[in-house]
């Protein structure tokens, strides 16, 4: 082989490899991407049947139920227009609370119950999953203060010490 042909082979090999990797990534992407729906979209039947998706909203206050001693938990996720009952078997994350935002992964059963295989926790108890905040905003213009979480609108102004705001109402002053 002449050096030129060899170089051509090398370049061809790399191009083939890169396109192969690209094609594989694209197909993996198509098959494994998960879409987000809120309870209103679920109620409107926008979720393709049998597809795994992310459900987000607020956990309705007083909706968490357990059969005593069972790992199976049931609660209702709402966007204040529509509700979706959720069932999950396992340890709920530390920051799971009634009246707080939640995102769950799973599938819809024919009877309308969402069977979650994963319930997401966040680092910060003030933190609201952005999709949930946006969906709530979309449905109601403003976030509902009575929902329980202190800072429901996600694109919040510079962080203020929200949870203990009642104890000492502070205001960050510009220098």
């Amino acid at each position: 082989m002449t050096p030129r042909r060899r170089r051509l082979m090398l370049v061809l090999g790399i191009v083939t490899g890169v396109s192969l990797a690209g094609a594989l990534a694209l197909s993996a992407f198509r098959q494994n991407v998960m879409f987000f729906f809120d309870p209103s979209q679920v109620a409107a039947g926008k979720v393709p049947a049998g597809e795994r998706f992310r459900l987000g909203g607020m956990v309705t206050k007083g909706s968490l139920r357990r059969a005593p001693g069972s790992l199976e938990a049931r609660f209702v996720v709402t966007d204040f227009s529509h509700d979706v009952p959720v069932s999950y078997s396992g340890v709920l994350p530390d920051l799971f609370r009634e009246g707080a935002g939640v995102v769950a992964h799973g599938r819809l059963r024919p009877d309308g119950t969402f069977v979650a295989d994963e319930v997401l926790a966040k680092h910060d108890e003030k933190y609201m999953p952005p999709e949930v905040a946006r969906s709530l905003k979309l449905r109601h213009g403003e976030s509902r203060a009575d929902a329980g979480a202190p800072a429901t609108a996600a694109p919040a102004p510079p962080p203020t010490p929200a949870p203990s705001a009642a104890e000492h109402p502070p205001a960050a002053t510009g220098s």
């Binding site: 050096p3 060899r6 082979m9 090398l10 790399i14 490899g17 890169v18 192969l20 990797a21 594989l24 990534a25 993996a28 992407f29 494994n32 991407v33 998960m34 879409f35 987000f36 992310r54 357990r66 005593p68 001693g69 069972s70 790992l71 078997s89 396992g90 340890v91 709920l92 994350p93 530390d94 920051l95 926790a121 966040k122 680092h123 910060d124 108890e125 003030k126 933190y127 999953p129 952005p130 999709e131 946006r134 996600a154 694109p155 919040a156 102004p157 510079p158 962080p159 203020t160 010490p161 949870p163 203990s164 104890e167 000492h168 502070p170 205001a171 960050a172 002053t173 510009g174 220098s175």
Partner: protein, 651 residues
């Protein structure tokens, strides 16, 4: 008074950074010697000012100065001293200050090292670092000033996020950031070479130790973060392909490619413009990481309350820096021709494959990380991309990389004949296959298809890397630190591969509902729950569970996981209990009171997961060995010609 002093010091640092950038870049261009001489004082002055600002903020934390907004948000009178100091980087503003301080420290280190560099070149490197520092200082002062006052002052602080109240906070962010910011040095060397329009093998030799050092810190930082998430978050996973993890992993992948392409540039004067591009990319990914984490545009476990103004500033800064350096690259790169040729089977080809595969891996991670953002802004729906995408696509580029690595280390520079090492490669492969299958089918059972394949590749790397150094050592020849470092780092990679393969294939997880005195069997272990009792902490109260674990009647250990309630934020946090038994990590997390006297308990048994973190440490040790090789220390300007020539012949 002190916070204002710190604020003022930060403003002075900004001015000094501007001077450093101006003198460092304009001085050599206009050939003003006095300007060049002013660069190093500017670097030192900036470092002193930044250190002063950091000291002022620490003083505010230690002294409970709740009139400072940042302190009031991230501290509390009940917070132990240890965490009050570390709370400095517990949130956005302070972590930027940490970033700036580390950049100042790297700049001082470069200034000390620059004494061995040509005057103009050294000044340019520091000038580019000044530009970066200026940008970050401006960002901090304009959008994220940690010294803002609170009026009226808070009676008590809002406390540090309980998730962060852990020794992990003390070590993980500084080490990760040291790595992140360290790529700014490689970037600055690239910028200086482009400004100069000249890039020779000396350039590669000066750049290599800095890049390797940054890479070592980044490796350790990522592993520490993974370890922290594993024991702290209570979910028990060690890698979630979360946007924030990805944004530290992408610079690592590109940085690894850079470390290897620098080797080719150093030894053979090859891949010059490619190396420059990688240096720009590695730092761009570091800055993109900041953008992703801090702007709050992506859903992440690390997303704290975010401010859109910050995102826009970072985006503008990112476009200016990356766009500017790429424009400079487009203009200057054609000046840098690599003349040397090489054959298909030569080491250069393998380094090229390494680079292509690592960049593909970084690109697939990049695509998966940004896809939600792009789909969202194009109104294609809110989607998320998780492990089912990342795992297979990442494997596609990693498996060939691992296979080629074992062959590539036996290839010679320039000459493409592998016949001499055919026998070695075959023997090592056979032994590796036996070991790999033994691990997959013997030690653990029920493996997946990829389990023996990946395990074999891991063992092959270990054996194949060891052949040459052992051979040289047996013949009484010396092994240079560079070669030893490379070998150690490659063995580190193999350790990671073996650990990841095992843990991905043989992990057992189960959530249990246990009543006091009840038992359950998971993965060959018996878990006996003895019940819960109250536990008191300094700023929390907790319930502690006791679980006795045995295997076939033999005791394994007593686990005491806790569920803590922090007083100030009313946050609940699980404290996991972890023990290592025969190489497997057994993790227990206490769940909820299920009623009826039962508690939920999460059990995870992850074999060889410690190998994954250990691997990063081994890689970092390898990198440190390689970076401390004599070749880099003696690379003085005065011995220009002869050094380069002899190195080329030796290499």
């Amino acid at each position: 008074m002190l916070p204002e002093f710190g604020h003022f010091a930060l403003i002075l640092a900004l001015l000094l950074a501007a001077l450093q950038a101006f003198f460092g870049i304009a001085g050599p261009a206009l050939r003003r010697d006095r300007w060049i001489a002013a660069v190093i004082p500017a670097v030192t002055g900036q470092a002193v000012m930044v250190a002063t600002a950091v000291a002022c903020l620490i003083a505010a934390f230690v002294g409970f100065d709740f009139s400072v907004a940042y302190v009031a948000q991230n501290s509390n009178t009940s917070l132990p001293l240890f965490y009050r100091v570390a709370a400095l980087w517990g949130a956005h503003e302070g972590s930027l200050l940490l970033w700036i301080m580390l950049l100042a420290l790297w700049s001082v280190a470069v200034a000390i090292g620059a004494r061995n560099l040509p005057r103009h070149f050294g000044a340019r490197v520091l000038g580019v670092l000044g530009v970066v520092s200026f940008g970050f200082l401006l960002f901090t002062l304009a959008t994220s000033n940690p010294f803002l006052r609170l009026d009226p002052a808070a009676a008590d602080g809002n406390d540090l996020n309980p998730i962060l109240q852990d020794p992990g906070l003390v070590v993980h962010p500084p080490i990760l950031y040291t790595g992140y910011v360290g790529f700014a040095v490689a970037f600055a060397f690239a910028g200086a070479a482009m400004l100069e329009g000249r890039l020779d093998q000396h350039w590669a030799r000066w750049t290599r130790p800095w890049t390797t050092a940054a890479w070592c810190f980044l490796s350790c930082g990522i592993a520490l973060g993974s370890f922290w998430a594993y024991y702290e978050l209570g979910w028990g996973g060690f890698w979630f392909w979360d946007p924030v993890e990805n944004s530290s992993f992408m610079p690592w992948l590109v940085g690894t490619a850079l470390v290897h392409s620098l080797a080719a540039t150093d030894k053979r004067g090859l891949f010059k413009s490619w190396t420059l591009l990688l240096a720009i990319l590695a730092f761009s990914f570091s800055m993109l990481g900041t953008f992703l984490v801090r702007s709050g545009v992506l859903v992440s476990v690390h997303s704290f309350a975010a401010d859109p103004a910050r995102g826009i500033f970072i985006l503008a800064f990112l476009i200016l820096m990356v766009g500017g350096s790429l424009a400079l690259y487009a203009w200057r790169a054609p000046l840098l021709k690599s003349s040397a040729g090489f054959e298909l089977g030569a080491r250069e080809s393998f380094l090229l494959f390494n680079n292509v595969l690592l960049v593909i891996a970084a690109a697939t991670v990049f695509a998966g990380t940004l896809a939600p953002l792009i789909s969202d802004s194009l109104k294609l729906g809110t989607l998320s991309v998780g492990p089912p995408y990342f795992n297979p696509t990442f494997m596609v580029s990693m498996l060939p990389l691992l296979a080629l690595l074992s062959v590539g280390i036996h290839a010679n520079w320039k000459r493409g004949r592998l016949e001499d090492s055919q026998r070695t490669l075959l023997y090592t492969f056979v032994v590796a296959a036996v070991l790999g299958c033994g691990l997959a089918f013997g030690v653990y059972s029920h493996g997946k298809v990829l389990t023996p394949v990946a395990a074999t590749l891991g063992f092959w790397i270990v054996l194949s890397s060891l052949v040459d150094p052992i051979d040289r050592w047996r013949r009484g020849m010396s092994v240079s630190r560079a070669v030893l470092g490379m070998t150690v780092a490659h063995i580190g990679l193999a350790t990671a591969v073996i650990g990841l393969t095992t843990v991905q294939s043989f992990t057992v997880e189960e959530d249990l509902a246990l009543s006091a005195g009840g038992t359950a069997n998971v993965g060959g272990y018996e878990f006996r729950f003895l019940g819960v009792k109250p536990v008191d902490g300094p700023n929390y109260s907790a319930v502690g569970g006791t679980v006795v674990v045995t295997q076939h009647g033999a005791p394994v250990g007593v686990f005491e996981p806790q569920k803590r309630q922090y007083w100030v934020k009313h946050t609940v946090k699980s404290e996991t209990a972890i023990k290592i038994h025969h190489g497997s990590n057994i993790l227990l997390a206490l769940g909820d009171d299920l009623g009826g006297g039962r508690w939920s308990v999460r059990v995870q048994i992850r074999p060889l997961v410690s190998f994954v973190w250990l691997a990063a440490l081994i890689m970092a040790i390898g990198g440190a060995l390689a970076a401390s090789d004599r070749r880099y220390r003696t690379a003085r300007v005065t011995s220009e010609g002869s050094e380069g020539l002899s190195a080329r012949q030796a290499g």
